[in-house]
Symmetry: C2
Subunit: 184 residues, 2 copies
C-alpha cells in the first residue's frame, strides 16, 4: 500500500495491552524508523465500561490533524470492537481481527484478515498478555507501516524485565502468522 | 484552581518514564476519577534527539480540541524541557521543575514549584526510574487534577510485577513533597 499517512486504530477490551501496543507501534515507527507519529488514547464512559482503544498516525511528514476519524488499519481484538469500528474503516484499508474472540465479522469493503492472536500468544509464550504483540507483528507483515527491526527494538525497550523472551516469541509468531494469511 | 479543562504537559528526556506517566495520569483521571481524558504523544526529530513529551487533557466534558498549545500544568524534568516549554505555559497555571536537573528556571508569570524529584526517587525507592511517579504525586497535591486514590490505583495497575512497593513509595513521597512546597 502506498499511503503517505496511515491512520491505525487498535481496539479491544481493557487488559489486552492495547495502550502499550499503541506506544510500541508509535516508538517503532517514530524513534526507530524515523517517521512522524502521533499516538493518542481517549478515556471516557466507554473505557470505564471496559472498552480499550489506542490510535496511531504514522506519516512521512509532520501530522497536522491528530484525530483519527476513519482508519486505514484496524485491529479488533473483541467482537464489540469489531462491531463498533469496522464501519469507520476505509474501504482500501485492512482489518485484522483476533479470531479467538471475533466470531462474526461485520460486512465491510476493506480486506479482512483473521488470525487467532490470543490463541497464538498462549501457545508460543504461555500467556495471553502478549496477544497484542502478536498483533503488532502480523500488522507489520501485512501493512509495512513499521519495519520488523524497528518494531522489535521498540517491543524490547518496553518489555518489563524478565518478559523479553515471551515478547520476542510473540512478535516473531505474529510476523509468521501475517505471512501465512497473506499467502492464502 | 477552577478550570473546567486542564491541559497538562509532561516533559523531559527519554528514559525518564514520561510516556508511562502520561498514561497513568490519564487512567487515574479517566478510568478511576470519571473524567473525560485525551492523552497524546508526538514522535519526531525531537524524540529521536532524546527529548520526551507527553500530553494529557483532563475535562469534565468531552474534549473537542485534542491538541495542547498552551498548558495549564507543566512538568519539566530537564533543563532543555524547561527552556523549551515554559514559554508555552499559561500565566495562571503552575510549573513543576525537577530541581535535580533544572538549575535555571526561565522567567515566567506562572507559579513555579521546584522539587528534587529524581533525588527523592533515589532516596525512597533506590531507583531513578520512578522519578516521574514522584512527579505525579506532587502534581496531584499541587493541582487536584487527579485524586490521590485514583492516581494510586492507576500507578499500581501499570506497575510491572515486583515494582509495586517502589512505585507506591515514590507516589507517597510525591504527595508529601507537594504539600511541603505548597506551604512554603
Amino acid at each position: 500500500m502506498q499511503a503517505k499517512q496511515w491512520e491505525v486504530r487498535l481496539s479491544g477490551t481493557g487488559g489486552q495491552g492495547l495502550v502499550t501496543a499503541g506506544i510500541i507501534l508509535a516508538e517503532g515507527a517514530g524513534i526507530y524508523d524515523g517517521k512522524e507519529v502521533v499516538q493518542t488514547q481517549v478515556y471516557g464512559p466507554q473505557s470505564r465500561g471496559g472498552a480499550s482503544r489506542s490510535e496511531v498516525i504514522i506519516s512521512d511528514e509532520p501530522v497536522m490533524y491528530p484525530e483519527v476519524t476513519e482508519s486505514d488499519v484496524l485491529l479488533a481484538m473483541s467482537q464489540e470492537a469489531a462491531d463498533a469500528y469496522i464501519h469507520e474503516q476505509r474501504a482500501e484499508g485492512i482489518v485484522l481481527v483476533d479470531s479467538t474472540f471475533v466470531k462474526v465479522v461485520p460486512e465491510t469493503r476493506a480486506k479482512v484478515y483473521a488470525i487467532p492472536l490470543t490463541k497464538i500468544a498462549r501457545e508460543v509464550a504461555r500467556t495471553e498478555i502478549v496477544a497484542s504483540i502478536v498483533a503488532l507483528g502480523a500488522l507489520a507483515t501485512l501493512t509495512g507501516i513499521v519495519s520488523q527491526d524497528g518494531l522489535e527494538q521498540a517491543v524490547l525497550a518496553r518489555a518489563p524485565k524478565g518478559t523479553e523472551e515471551a515478547n520476542r516469541a510473540a512478535l516473531h509468531a505474529g510476523f509468521a502468522a501475517g505471512h501465512e494469511v497473506r499467502e492464502q
